[in-house]
Symmetry: C2
Subunit: 223 residues, 2 copies
């Protein structure tokens, strides 16, 4: 994975940034440390001023890369889903058996993520924690509809569409392929959140992932 991904430049919707952060030292530093800082103090408490202090740079310099912290978060989550899409494409090509393909796809979106060292400036393990704790907040704003039109959530939808296609291959007669796919992806994030914070209403324990639960679900529903 490492070698393949290090050649891959993940492309992000240009409307999400003012200046492409991948093109400079400062930009890469913003990406790297925003992930660490959001993970540490949470997105609400995260500000460009605090990030500036941390990377010994100025608030105003960060504004030259991102209009506001919301767009930075959408950038980071887009990166994550793009990375996920790539891994999914890689894991499912040349798998002829649809059930096996579905199992692999579900595993990818439900498992615990560790840093894969693919990119030095992005720690995928920590980024995945941010996805669990903050991703839905990128959607749940009064600007969703506009931002959706602008294509901010395209990559996320593309990941779900891949799963929808596999579900249809497994069982073309199942009438809720879209809802099942989105339920698995979003539901998995939520189960991870619950295992960390509201442990009494999930079966996942501390270090467990959601793979077993959702694989079982998909198979019972589709087969």
């Amino acid at each position: 994975m490492q070698n393949l991904l290090s050649n891959l430049k993940i492309t992000i919707n240009e409307k999400l940034y003012v200046k492409d952060p991948e093109t400079s030292e400062l930009g890469l530093n913003i990406l790297k440390n925003s992930i660490l800082l959001i993970d540490e103090i949470g997105f609400e408490a995260f500000t460009f001023k605090k990030l500036g202090e941390r990377i010994q740079s100025n608030e105003s310099s960060i504004y030259r890369y991102f209009e506001n912290k919301h767009k930075l978060l959408v950038y980071l989550t887009s990166w994550y889903w793009s990375w996920m899409e790539y891994r999914m494409a890689f894991a499912t090509t040349n798998v002829s058996n649809p059930v096996e393909k579905l199992e692999k796809a579900i595993k990818l979106v439900t498992e615990n993520i560790a840093d894969d060292n693919a990119t030095p400036h992005i720690n995928e393990g920590i980024l995945s924690r941010i996805i669990v704790e903050e991703f839905t907040k990128t959607l749940m704003t009064k600007e969703v509809d506009n931002e959706n039109k602008e294509g901010f959530f395209l990559v996320y939808k593309r990941v779900i569409n891949r799963i929808i296609d596999i579900i249809k291959e497994v069982n073309p007669n199942y009438p809720f392929a879209k809802s099942l796919a989105s339920n698995i992806v979003e539901g998995s994030l939520h189960q991870h959140f619950l295992k960390n914070h509201l442990k009494t209403i999930t079966n996942l324990s501390e270090k467990e992932c959601a793979t077993e639960f959702y694989t079982d679900m998909a198979k019972k529903i589709l087969l």
Copy 2:
């Protein structure tokens, strides 16, 4: 439902308010109009100042009822889940067949909610929209663990626990009763969100509810 509920005083965790809003005109006005205003402009843009202007009262007066807008939102969502719990208890008592009981419970948490006129100061239909758009934000903060210890989310967990119990009645051998229950409740909110904003990744159409999808899911998994 109407008559029964009008006699019911929904009790909310005392730590959520400074002064019980149900004990005065101003308090009831705060509840009523905060629901309308949050629905209109979204929770991010909602402030006590704007609410004060709307109800022709003063910002400082609202602070005498709620410490901050987050606690007000937790209050409102607690009210909703308490109301839901009551409806669920009512709908499932004296139903001996577990499958039928499960169907009724799933219907309640997945259907579209209309104002039931049970309480003049709370429009349940609009409140349910707030639940869809804002509820997860009450959980996804850096303070979840503390607030969970303080019992802020007890009512929500109680609703899910009722479903867990019914699932166990239906199939005592199913190993993921907790995750299935929390998945249905949270997942249903998410599907409603998707049908409003990201229509391409859900099968629910405009005015449809999530009942059919989740009833089908539960039955295929448990029976």
